[in-house]
């Protein structure tokens, strides 16, 4: 039924939000101002509009006063637009006839003066826009009941296992030749001192064995198309030059290969062959050939030892990269972190002194499968004293201001492991604060304290090999101020372990773009809401779990992996997803077939019919960005919910107090 001008009845609701808004904005003044605006049937204010009674207030007015538009002046629409839309729906008002006005995040919270005046202008604008809002139809599409997990570290593995457990198909894509991520590089894990490989490898094996998980290692996601519930992803499968279906994992090729390279898995401390599995428990247990170090590939056929010795004939140098397309309903991004390279902080001596190492390098030294077989030695020598320097690049205005969360705990773990492996070793912890907040963490700290570990509260100024006393000769000296005592100290040690900051991966920006995600100020990927929605993102259907979202330890990573699985499963179980209602459409009476819009849509939602000489917009593909609406020179494309009429009215009303009343705009 068409509405006449007189039929528009707007209800305006001003929220106090406790004192968050009411403390700075005069809500009573604002409410009576709103009441005086054209077409406003009622204006009220209330302490917490989003609460049950607040919502009930709106519902009652819609029903009893016959409101057909609702304006809520409160927090950001990004906060509660869904809440108030539901209120409208419950009261049988189309949810798109709601307009929200942000007078908190963008007004009361940021302006010490002028907040009320600005709030009036904003409310005035919202009312003017609301006047022109139209009901919109909501449509649904089915959800593809499959999930893509990107990244095969513990976060991705956990998510994949949980989704598969529910009986749905999972594609697990991992860039490296094997899953396991950084966790498989660790020796023991705090606070329980579980052997990392022992707790992880069963999960890795479970991934391999699960009939619903399709594991694609040595592969990368190159393109993502579609939208929530209906993604089409292109995956590049890099050539291993080994046929996965024939390889038995016997390892003879690796034994016989004469060519070596630095082992990435061992952080360059050890070597691997040109044909290699990164570590013995690799999943899949199928080697890859590194084209850069393989002489057969580099020198066109010279060598060929692996070809000769492989009894199954699994070596295949003719393999090429393959592009695979998969269709999924949800994507879980679990691409993890990198450790910062501390050579940037040159005063700490990394790369200048061979016995200054990073924590990950220490994990490899400590680990039985590492380059030293689990013996903590540098150049064959066992250190008798070790310094562990915390916060290298973290809590540092010059590098990363954030705390990397895990280092205090693993530093304590290192102290314990060193004490266990090296009789009488002295460990010095150079720290700012000891952050031992988790379950069992404080107890672990108490144990470390009693294990004769020396704590020096201070940030080392440098690590030097310049000896100033006989004791310092041949050692590395950590120069630091012990702030609790208030005196500088020089601590001679045999080895220095640095705790580098956990950083976003080097290609985080590209990953963000590929999956249409944002980055936080610190470069990690941005979650929808830090407290209430930590694994969802602004891109519906794409979830971020684990360290890709920020530094965290294994328990939290696993929890997020499970959370991501829950999100994906909720989507799949619901089976349907709502399409964006605020899409664009072509007014066929006005379209004259100029074709200016056709090449502008990034989703290819616009097609042209030569027979009708008209453009058409596919509303399942349209995301409502409005580019075509702005470009159409005939004004023939209408952007629902953000029409020219609505926006121009909003702008004019926004500025009504800046111009004389006689000026017509």
């Amino acid at each position: 039924m068409a509405e006449s001008k007189n039929d528009v009845r707007i209800g305006v609701y001003v929220c106090h939000c406790g004192s968050n808004i009411a403390g700075t904005v005069d809500v009573d003044d604002l409410t009576s101002f709103a009441q005086q605006q054209g077409s406003v049937a009622v204006a009220r204010n209330y302490k917490f509009m989003c609460s049950e009674p607040g919502q009930a207030l709106i519902k009652k007015d819609i029903e009893e006063l016959g409101l057909n538009r609702v304006v809520v002046a409160s927090c950001s629409p990004r906060m509660h637009e869904p809440t108030f839309r539901r209120v409208c729906e419950d009261a049988n008002l189309n949810p798109y006839q709601l307009d929200m006005c942000n007078i908190r995040e963008q007004c009361s919270w940021v302006h010490k003066s002028g907040a009320t005046g600005k709030a009036k202008a904003l409310v005035s604008a919202a009312i003017s826009r609301a006047y022109y809002l139209q009901p919109l139809e909501r449509r649904e599409v089915l959800v593809t009941p499959a999930v893509l997990v990107v990244g095969g570290g513990i976060a991705g593995i956990q998510a994949a296992l949980k989704v598969a457990e529910a009986g749905h198909k999972v594609y697990l894509v991992e860039r490296e030749p094997s899953i396991g991520g950084h966790m498989i590089q660790l020796d023991k894990t705090f606070p329980t001192l579980d052997c990392s490989a022992c707790i992880l490898t069963p999960k890795m094996a479970a991934v391999k064995a699960h009939p619903d998980i399709e594991l694609m290692t040595y592969s990368e996601v190159v393109d993502v198309q579609g939208y929530v519930g209906n993604f089409r992803v292109t995956i590049r499968r890099k050539p291993r030059y080994v046929d996965e279906s024939l390889c038995t994992g016997c390892g003879i090729c690796q034994e016989k290969c004469p060519w070596k390279a630095d082992s990435e898995f061992d952080c360059g401390l050890g070597q691997r062959k040109a044909i290699y599995t990164p570590f013995p428990q690799a999943v899949p247990n199928v080697p890859v050939i590194d084209p850069e170090h393989c002489v057969y590939i580099q020198k066109e056929g010279k060598c060929g030892a692996c070809l000769k010795f492989c009894e199954r004939g699994a070596i295949d140098f003719t393999q090429k990269e393959k592009m695979v397309d998969v269709e999924v309903g949800a994507i879980i991004v679990a691409t993890g972190y990198d450790l910062m390279d501390p050579s940037a902080i040159s005063r700490l001596g990394y790369k200048r002194f061979p016995n200054v190492i990073t924590s990950m390098e220490f994990e490899r030294l400590c680990n039985a499968t590492g380059p030293t077989g689990g013996h903590i030695t540098i150049d064959g020598k066992e250190p008798k004293s070790v310094a562990i320097i915390h916060c290298v690049g973290s809590r540092d205005e010059k590098y990363h201001t954030y705390c990397s969360r895990v280092c205090c705990m693993y530093a304590l773990k290192f102290a314990h492991l060193i004490g266990e492996k090296i009789e009488g070793a002295q460990v010095y912890q150079f720290y700012i604060d000891m952050r031992c907040y988790g379950k069992g963490f404080e107890e672990f700290y108490q144990r470390a304290s009693s294990e004769a570990v020396n704590f020096v509260r201070g940030r080392p100024a440098q690590v030097t090999d310049f000896a100033m006393t006989p004791e310092e000769k041949g050692k590395l000296v950590v120069v630091c101020e012990n702030t609790l005592v208030g005196r500088p100290v020089r601590v001679p040690v045999d080895m220095v372990i640095l705790c580098p900051a956990m950083e976003p991966r080097a290609d985080a920006k590209e990953v963000a773009r590929r999956f249409n995600l944002s980055q936080s100020a610190d470069g990690f990927l941005l979650e929808k809401h830090a407290k209430l929605d930590p694994v969802a993102t602004a891109n519906d259907g794409v979830f971020i779990v684990g360290c890709v979202q920020g530094p965290k330890d294994i328990p939290d990573t696993v929890a997020q992996g499970l959370a991501g699985a829950a999100e994906a499963l909720a989507l799949i179980e619901k089976g349907r997803v709502e399409l964006e209602a605020a899409t664009a459409f072509v007014n066929e009476a006005a379209c004259s077939g100029c074709k200016i819009c056709v090449s502008l849509c990034p989703y290819s939602a616009i097609t042209f019919s030569e027979t009708e000489k008209l453009s058409h917009i596919n509303e399942a593909l349209c995301k409502g960005c409005g580019v075509c609406v702005a470009a159409c020179p005939a004004g023939a494309i209408v952007g629902r919910h953000f029409t020219d009429q609505q926006i121009l009215a909003e702008v004019a009303a926004l500025l009504v107090d800046t111009r004389p009343a006689t000026v017509a705009v």
């Binding site: 007014n587 009476a589 006005a590 379209c591 004259s592 077939g593 100029c594 074709k595 200016i596 056709v598 090449s599 502008l600 000489k613 580019v627 702005a630 470009a631 159409c632 020179p633 005939a634 004004g635 023939a636 020219d644 121009l648």
Partner: protein
């Protein structure tokens, strides 16, 4: 039964709209048959006082062409509004301001200085300027006040119908007169004698894909006469211009300049044309986009050739009585 009264008036115009009516050729005699013409300064000898003597609302149809740029034209707009039942803004100047509307890049002082002091052939050592009033032995001589800002007819008085065109094409003038005679006009406030689509609807050229790597002036290339001019880089306002003219300019290989005004759903014709032209520039590199855009020496003239007074901003903001330094002038000099 007396004949319906018809008045035609020209304000700030070139005379082309008079010719548009005269171009009815033989049909003009039919018009003279049907209507009782009470005012037509270009063709007939009626005086203003004849109009002043008429009762209010006694003129059935007034075709008012030209923009309002001086006090005489403003007076006549008000007079004819009072005396007319249906006041029609005839032609682009009355509808959106037209070419005279481009004077809104200047003001009275700038224009007078140019005309009365600075032109190469002016000799005016005494600095004579037009006076509003001058006493001579015979009495007082007056001249209309020349305004700083040109306005459309509807910006001065309420208007019933708008007939766009510079000038309106013959077929449309005939159609409108026919509609008046038959009493078949649409709701007041409408644009008549035009279509609700754009010039593209009238244009028979082939359109493929709109991606611009360079803009060209019409004299810089010899365009393919079968293909869309905009696709060849020549700025054509057709997509942002109301149709109904039959696209005659396109048929002689010249781009549309926008004289029929904005399409029905567009508020500001120049703004929309600007948006469309910019959107199809085929580059994501700011420096490249800058280079492509630099080929348009006069963006204001390109976008608001016929519609500056009717646009949202209406006229140029001047600092004092100086024309703003214009890249157009520099570019023109360079060429």
């Amino acid at each position: 039964m007396s004949k319906p009264k018809l008045a035609l008036y020209w304000a700030a115009s070139c005379g082309g709209c008079e010719i548009a009516v005269v171009r009815l050729y033989a049909k003009i005699l039919d018009v003279a048959e049907i209507f009782d013409i009470v005012l037509w300064p270009c063709i007939m000898d009626f005086k203003y006082k004849d109009v002043e003597a008429l009762p209010d609302k006694s003129i059935d149809l007034c075709l008012f062409n030209g923009a309002i740029r001086n006090s005489e034209q403003e007076y006549m707009a008000h007079l004819l509004r009072a005396k007319s039942k249906a006041l029609v803004a005839f032609g682009t100047c009355a509808y959106t301001g037209g070419i005279p509307g481009l004077a809104n890049v200047a003001n009275r002082e700038i224009i007078f200085r140019r005309v009365y002091d600075e032109t190469p052939s002016t000799s005016n050592a005494e600095g004579v300027r037009p006076q509003l009033s001058y006493q001579v032995p015979e009495g007082e001589l007056t001249l209309p006040k020349f305004y700083d800002t040109v306005r459309t007819l509807a910006q001065v008085v309420p208007v019933e119908y708008f007939i766009p065109g510079c000038p309106p094409v013959k077929e449309q003038v005939e159609a409108v007169i026919q509609a008046v005679v038959e009493g078949k006009l649409p709701a007041p406030g409408s644009v008549v004698g035009a279509s609700d689509k754009t010039v593209c609807d009238n244009c028979t050229r082939i359109r493929e894909e709109k991606r611009i790597r360079s803009f060209y002036r019409p004299w810089e290339i010899i365009p393919d006469s079968s293909r869309c001019l905009l696709e060849q880089g020549i700025i054509c306002a057709g997509p942002a211009t109301r149709g109904g003219c039959g696209a005659p300019c396109l048929s002689v290989n010249m781009p549309c300049r926008g004289c029929y005004g904005p399409p029905p759903n567009v508020t500001d014709q120049g703004g929309k044309l600007l948006s469309a032209l910019a959107s199809i520039i085929d580059s994501q590199d700011p420096a490249e986009i800058e280079r492509v855009v630099d080929a348009i020496p006069d963006v204001l003239g390109t976008c608001y050739l016929f519609g500056l007074p009717a646009s949202l901003l209406g006229r140029v903001r001047l600092e004092g009585n100086a024309l703003p330094a214009r890249e157009a002038v520099e570019t023109a000099k360079a060429l």
